[in-house]
Amino acid sequence: MKLYCLSGHPTLPCNVLKFKSTTIMLDCGLDMTSTLNFLPLPLVQSPRLSNLPGWSLKDGNAFLDKELKECSGHVFVDSVPEFCLPETELIDLSTVDVILISNYHCMMALPYITEHTGFTGTVYATEPTVQIGRLLMEELVNFIERVPKAQSASLWKNKDIQRLLPSPLKDAVEVSTWRRCYTMQEVNSALSKIQLVGYSQKIELFGAVQVTPLSSGYALGSSNWIIQSHYEKVSYVSGSSLLTTHPQPMDQASLKNSDVLILTGLTQIPTANPDGMVGEFCSNLALTVRNGGNVLVPCYPSGVIYDLLECLYQYIDSAGLSSIPFYFISPVANSSLEFSQIFAEWLCHNKQTKVYLPEPPFPHAELIQTNKLKHYPSIHGDFSNDFRQPCVVFTGHPSLRFGDVVHFMELWGKSSLNTVIFTEPDFSYLEALAPYQPLAMKCIYCPIDTRLNFIQVSKLLKEVQPLHVVCPEQYAQPPPAQSHRMDLMIDCQPPAMSYRRAEVLALPFKRRYEKIEIMPELADSLVPMEIKPGVSLATVSAVLHTKDNKHVLQPPPRPAQPTGGKKRKRASDDIPDCKVLKPLLSGSIPVEQFVQTLEKSTHHPPVPFLLEQHGFSDIKVEDTAKGHIVLLQEAETLIQIEEDSTHIICDNDEMLRTIRILHILLSSKLKTPVCLK
């Protein structure tokens, strides 16, 4: 069993698991942090951005000034933003049989995989994952396509040139593989390959393994996966949460007894408690608005925003903010708010019960009804008529490189009354803000990441007790900036195996058993003999039939009638005679007794025609680490007896080997297979 690690981002994983002749891709997250190297795409012409000076080398060479622009000491690529894809060279992705998606954030690279690698398999995901994933992709495509950029920079990617660039461009990895955003057509085609699944549904893959999604408690429809055969179980835990937020709670019990547990998607801010952050968010929001300032919340159109709106719903009256408008601007804002209300079965118990009242599960419905929350597809159109300040705006994209947020940053950045509050943990807020410097508006960083922290992980591992844990390298040591924080790493026994991008991991896993079915009629013909109380043995002669990873013992064809054709007759020759009942062999070889028997073999002739044979005289027994070696010097024969095998090695005397020695061996009690060489 092998694990191919295609992504280095611990919360946007993409791994391929080879297990029992199946090739399973676990998630295909898209690392969008590469976009931070690009200039923002303004919705409305921005004189500031378009007048940024071009960058030139120290020696004054300005050949890159069309591609690279300088802003407050940072250099940005002036081109359509590009994304860093999962590794495509490590393994032939056309051989991937299935892709299992754990949540909507971890499927953003799907079109690149399904549309450009020769992938012909199936993708499995839950319905909310697909629907909200579609919204996220749609928003991304929309954000990028609606600001067409004439030029596409590629010169800077040249390795020799990249070396000359300032950080972080200089250190960007594998820039040559960075790709532009996919199209809506590719998105639709990719999503058409998805097959919907429900929690605890068992899906057979080629008869070899069974995969099952389990609730992971992190987002609507988010899942962990169990991949198991009859005797092995691999759990894939990706983006799970034990907090009480809107989704169904995490199913921990089903993860028990795993041989391997692959653990990804832990919280990106292990030192921040989401409750504290929500408090910080509310306080700062209230302070800004009370002072007449506006609040900008760069966010994804689904996920934490539902919880934030719910907190605000409870908070705004107490904080005297009832008259402040809340705007949610996204091409998919409407769908996102509505989708959240219809996936009742995927919600936590509290919200599910509301549906029976009947009431909308999320209170943002009421905010919309009372006109406190308004949503728009874009800043153009109705929004510009309704826009009132001070206000609170939720809009994307959290990277601040595209989407309506770029406009608000340009609009509000100059006033210190306004505040931008970062709640999404995916991007470094300092890097996100870099192209907007100098900035007068206040910046508050309250990342809300509800995924598991290390304390919860350690409790989870104690609870489910996997034999081995596999995780990204980032989780196997404390964060580099806080190397003394031994509590910020996975602590388990045996220590977790860690992986990094482009690494292939052989999982510590021995396949020991395979399940074989016996056809009823064959089972009927068996005659078990009890060798000790409770244990019976029977010999079986059968044809092993293997198809679709299922092994079946079938009764051998009946011996053909002699009147049959020549071909049939030959077939019947191969059939072993199973009518004769031979003694059953079991137990280990008693070496001493065996040697004595060899010496005295004449006294107990096993086969009548060997009567005249004498016993072996010069027998030497050597003890080895694994068992014994019996040397018959005269006969130039060596008998290797080990715990689970016995070899008889003699050069050419086939008679001696098979008839004399083997017979003596078989007449001793033995259980281990005997191999003839």
């Binding site: 030192t271 921040a272 408690n273 504290g276 952050m277 929500v278 408090g279 910080e280 509310c282 306080s283 700062n284 209230a286 302070l287 009370r290 002072n291 907190c311 409870q314 908070y315 009256d317 107490s318 904080a319 005297g320 309250c446 806080q482 003394h484 924080r485 031994m486 509590d487």
Partner: protein, 773 residues
Amino acid sequence: MLKSQDLSSRILSFSLRLAGIFAAQENCFQYLQGELLPTLFGEAGPLGGAAWTAPTVRSGWVQGLRTLARHPSALRFLAACGAVDTIFSLQGDSSLFVASAAGQLLVHVLDLAMRGPAEGRRGPRARDWPACAQKIVCHIEDSLCSAATPQVTQALNVLTTVFGHCRGLWTQGLWVRLSPLVARLLEKDPVPASHSLVDLLLSVARSGPRGAAGGVGRSSSVLSSDRGLWETLAQTLSHLSPTQAGPLALGILKLQDCPQALRTQAFGILLQPLACVLEAAAQAPGTPGLLEGAAGDSMTVDTLLSSKSACVGLLCCALAHLGLLQPLPQRPSPWPQVPLLGAVVTILRLCSGSAAPTSDVGGRLCAILVGCGRVQRAALDFLGALSQGTGPQELVTQVFSILLEYLMSPESSSMVLKKAFQATLRWLLSSSKTPGCCDLDPHTQQFLRELLPVLQKRLCSPCWEVRDSGLEFLTQMTRQWGGRTGFRQALLASEVPELTRQLLRDPESYVRASAVTATGQLSGWGLRATPASPERPGAQQESLLGELLHILSTDSEGFPRRAAMQVCTEWLRDGRADVAEDPERFVAGVLQAASRDLDWEVRAQGLELALVFLEQLLGQRGSRCPYSVGLPETAPPGVLAQALQVLCRVQLFEFAFRALFDCDRPVAQKSCDLLLFLRAKAASCGSLQEAGDSPSVASVEATLQRWQAGEQGQPLGYLEPGAIVAVLRSVDLEGLRDTLAESSDHVEKSPQSLLQDVLAAVGVLGENEADCY
């Protein structure tokens, strides 16, 4: 009655207690011991029968004996009926109440038995002890030698009570006899019933062997037994685990006089955990530690690192113990203020994750402590306590910076924040105590500049507890520093006053109450939300008064209304300008709101305000000390008449008379005091007495009688000052005051009530009522 078969357990229990009360008198005992007492308490009684299974019967039995055992005859009775053995067995009763009462009864019996022969002497020799005492002491000895921990615990608890409550000299003899057995407990591993052992040793050390002689003029033999005690204490300290030894160490340090070596040992135990933390987190070797040479005590380190709960428990106990010790006059001297400050700052840093220890132990401590709320709370409490001492400026700066870190951190829970606010307040106040300086020093000024934005944010927190503790902090700060220029400037430059004002409309009642108090305090110092317009300087204030009256009359919760009443009272007392302009209108408005209030504390506070108003009109009440002798202050008749007119106009009498019959005793008491004060003032002036027989007086008295009977509907109507004085004279205020001064259960405890209970019990039984008479 006792012969009845279906006697309920409650009645049987009652009978046992009643008989005990009767038999407490020796003559009564003599009368009853013939038949009744053996039937109740002896073998023939409920003991061992079906009724005995009810805990209430066993409890009644113990309580009855406890009341009964007051004279030597009782002791003979106890011995005769074998009660002592039953008490022994009841010590392990399944009902904790019964078991505890049995233990106390045992002590009581022992004391009674020993009191006679030991009176006035140091205690007879053991073989001269009365048989009953011998029996009990032998039982205690057996229990102390027992292998079963519950037995040992029972014996230790009985001894603890003996040394805690019995003052006879015989207790010394008892200690001499039992201390070897107690010391032997220390040889076992683990020490059994360590908690009770600690209690016993402390109880002995506090009083026992020294007995009535106290701390002065003790004989040399007492000292020699003390020496044994100090040795036992020292041994115990070294035998117990660090967690178990903490309470003992604290107890030893609280003792008035004990050997210095023992005090040093005990203080070392308390300091040990902090010393370990300090050493583990030290950045450079050689940093001065808490305990020179012994910082790395392996047992303490092992406990700290063994598990999270052990580490947290030990640290919290150490911090709490040191916090209790800090303000005591007998605390160890020299007090290691600087290393303690260093240790507590280190602990707080480990908890917040901001410390970066280099040592292995430090790293593990960090992993255990990070984010631990219990330790944070204990450490902040202790840090607050340490504010009473001083420290080098560098360390004080560190203290303020860690406090600010906690106040800022979104990770701080509401309880931790509350403690952080409290500690900050204490440090701020102690740091600005510089004599002769009326303004804040630059460090404090700088800290305030950083603190106020944090406070501002906390006042906007979605968590009401946080808003509440922020407001409490603000109130206390303002109370202390409202007059300091630096504070005033910083506060007025912030949005804190405005936010506080907005919190008057908070959805949470506790927050509204705190906001009312804070706003009252701020406005008391003229720290208004925004400067009032120059044309109408009082406009802002007026509206604040309006807002308070609004809260008083409309708020659905009691806390904000109580707070509003307090603020109004303070304003009236301080003679604030806008109140002083028309106090009559102000008082009338407030009293009207208070009179309708359902909350008794609001009504009581209303009477307080009325009293303040009265004092302003008629002069102070004089010394409140009942023993002081002073000339009665007299008010000129003209002033009194005018004052009474005013009081009538603001309807103070209607309010006070209604309160006189208030169903809540404190309100009635307060009203009684107020009216007595008024009557005393009026008595000194005879000019208003002629209204004595006017019809209005009669009608007022009639109304008051109806009110007393519970018919509160009818109003008093407008009253003439003359009628008031007459009514004041006619009402038996002193009698009322005496009745009100009785405890609230005086009716239940009266003999009449007992008789009623007996009658009721008989009534339930359905037997002939006449028999009882």
